[in-house]
Amino acid sequence: MTSNNTKNAVNKRYIQNAIDVLMFPLIAIVLGLFVAVFFVMWAKNLGFFDGVATLFSAIWEGTFGKRANFIETLVATTPLIFTGLAHSVAFRTGLFNIGVEGQFIMGMLAAALIGLIPGIPSFIHVILVLLGGVIFGAVWAAIPGYLKAKVGTNEVVNTIMMNFIAMNVSNYFVKGPIHREGSASSKMILESAQLYRFLGPSERVNIGLFIGLVLIFVIYWLLWKTTIGYELRAVGLNRHAAEYGGINSKKNIVLAMVISGAIAGLGGAVHVAGTIHKVHQLVGFTNYGFDGIAVALLAKSHPIGVLFSSLLFGGLNSSARILQKYRIPKQIVYIIQGIIIIFVAADYIYKWFKEKKKKEAIKNA
């Protein structure tokens, strides 16, 4: 009887926890859409209900409503899964790896370089391309990780600088050795290096999506079912406590950066090998790495959450196109995304106040 009661209590607490965790992201999304309606009313000179109808039908059509758009939603989601996961691993270890963008670019570059090597059978070539992305991304992240662990330099500053280096290194190759005449991009990677497009060659969605889905579970397993993950999370929760418990925090900081960079690099390689088959000369960042910050924040740095939040952000990005078709400014989409982020941040503030209240209650008691 008693054990049953405890079990119920545990279950109840579990559900309560889940509600607490999901509450704010869901409110954030609803509010984001709600505020966007007003901008649609303003832009299109419509009433409230017409605004709702216009916005939601456009977003629906742009995300899941039509086959072609649904495919593009999946295409837009794929890189965000990787960058979202990369950020999540870093967040869980108490690091802010803004360099995911640069690591993603290095992964793209690796794929473009290795993808041009002729005479390799397809199966091996694809694996080499992906492996190249992993290594380029991991090395690119290991540098600021090592500096943080050894000398204590701020990883935020270093990774931001590494982003610019990555962009220019990529541009050096794209404009130089692998430049395709008369274009602003590299040569197309060979067919043997391309990821399989399972809906036919003209539909851009590819098995990179499934690589991402599998990776979600791999990262979940890594973080919660292995010693490595336990140590990473321990360092993230409290570095000094972890040290006290015998965990080498320096090793784990480097490791977290390497894992984060490897995921980002893999994402870049998948993007090139699956979706675009070449690297563009970059005049600005690709933004996949930066969007990944939002994805990870909304997902509360949980791999399973990344699945849904990357789908949300990918869907919104993809529906920007359809909004414009109905002459709604694409900026509406960015407004929605911005508001979601603000409310997710508000969650952290709300928690901070709750903690403070609790502490005061303890003090007063």
């Binding site: 072609a68 758009n69 274009s183 196109r321 694409k330």
Partner: protein, 344 residues
């Protein structure tokens, strides 16, 4: 938590109620009966409001809208990855689809192949397909005339060229400009620098300032939004600048006093002509080259009063010579050194 939800629900309903009242009976103007063609256009990352290339392309379709009442569907691209899906989306709904910018060539080729029954047009690049019209400009010819003006106006015998990014397209501006300077002032040196951006105004400003400090007194730019930084630097240091693509003295009126002239590139003519042809059923695929002769490039209407009449006349003489085919302006920087301008 429950209170919060309740509050929000109340808020939603209340605001919804009031907003409902404001509903307006604005109907989209319909164009009944006449079976019309539909036109779509995808911009590059510059997007609407770049006061340059994309806006010029859209301006051509605005003229179509005024004349035929066809409102174009316009989709802006957020990054190069967007080109293909944007064009695909447009192709599903429209009969004539424009891709603006040479970077769209690959994507437009793919989409045009997938939609052989639709018509496509691309600006600044050549796509060799039976359903694509390609509009390219001889930017080097217009830039040559700017080079003539700069070469004549410089007192220090140093002039500058600020490029956006080292694309082959932008190198055509550089080559023409340098050839023009060489033709009228062989002693003058041209400092060339690429900003690697078409949007960073601050970087454009810094590069321009450095060039002016190095002795340049006239700078020509082909750097889109970064060129606005050039105008700021010119204004501050009281030096000369030359605009590009549109009549920039009109678009940036507060800097008009430092802008000698602008090299006009009639992207609007390209989109207007292609759309008009499609509407009237005379659309022809193939490559259409627009140079000085076709009035596709040229000198802006606004020329700074500081430019003496002789210089304008000289530029016009060169223009005439190019139109008559007396000489060819080099389109690659590597050809400038061996270029010999005829005496005029």
């Amino acid at each position: 938590m429950k209170k919060l939800i309740a509050l929000m629900a109340t808020l939603t309903l209340t605001v919804g109620l009031f907003s409902g009242c404001a509903k307006q009976e604005s109907q989209q103007p319909q164009q009944p009966n006449k079976p019309q063609i539909r036109i779509g256009l995808a911009t590059d990352e510059g997007g609407k409001g770049d006061k340059s290339f994309n806006d010029a392309a859209i301006a051509g379709l605005e003229r179509i809208k005024a004349e035929y009442g066809i409102e174009p569907q316009i989709i802006e691209s957020r990054s190069a990855d967007d080109y293909e899906p944007n064009l695909t989306t447009l192709a599903a709904d429209n009969d004539l689809i424009f891709g603006v910018g040479f970077k769209m060539a690959d994507a437009l080729k793919t989409v045009a192949q997938n939609n052989p029954d639709k018509k496509f047009a691309i600006v600044d690049s050549v796509v060799d397909l039976p359903n694509v019209a390609s509009y390219v400009f001889k930017e080097e010819e217009g830039s040559f005339l700017m080079g003539v003006i700069a070469g004549k106006m410089t007192k220090t015998n140093i002039v500058g060229f600020l490029g956006g990014s080292k694309f082959e397209l932008i190198e055509k501006f550089e080559a023409g400009f340098r050839a023009g300077v060489k033709a009228v002032n062989p002693k003058a040196k041209v400092i060339v620098q690429y900003a690697n951006t078409f949007s960073d105004v601050a970087l454009g400003y810094e590069i321009a300032k450095k060039m002016y400090n190095d002795g340049a007194d006239v700078i020509y730019h082909a750097a889109g939004g970064a060129g606005l930084g050039l105008f700021n630097a010119a204004k501050e240091m009281k030096k000369w600048a030359i605009g590009v693509d549109s009549d920039q003295a009109v678009l940036v009126p507060d800097k008009a006093d430092v802008i000698l002239a602008s090299m006009i590139k009639r992207v609007d003519t390209a989109t207007y002509t292609a759309a008009k042809a499609a509407i009237e059923g005379t659309f022809k695929p193939g490559t259409i080259v627009l140079g000085l002769k076709e009035d596709g490039v040229g000198i802006s209407k606004t020329i700074n009063p500081a430019v003496p009449k002789e210089v304008i006349d000289l530029a016009n003489k060169y223009k005439q010579a190019i139109i008559e085919g007396k000489f060819t302006v080099p389109s690659k920087p590597s050809e400038v050194d061996s270029f010999q301008a005829p005496q005029i």
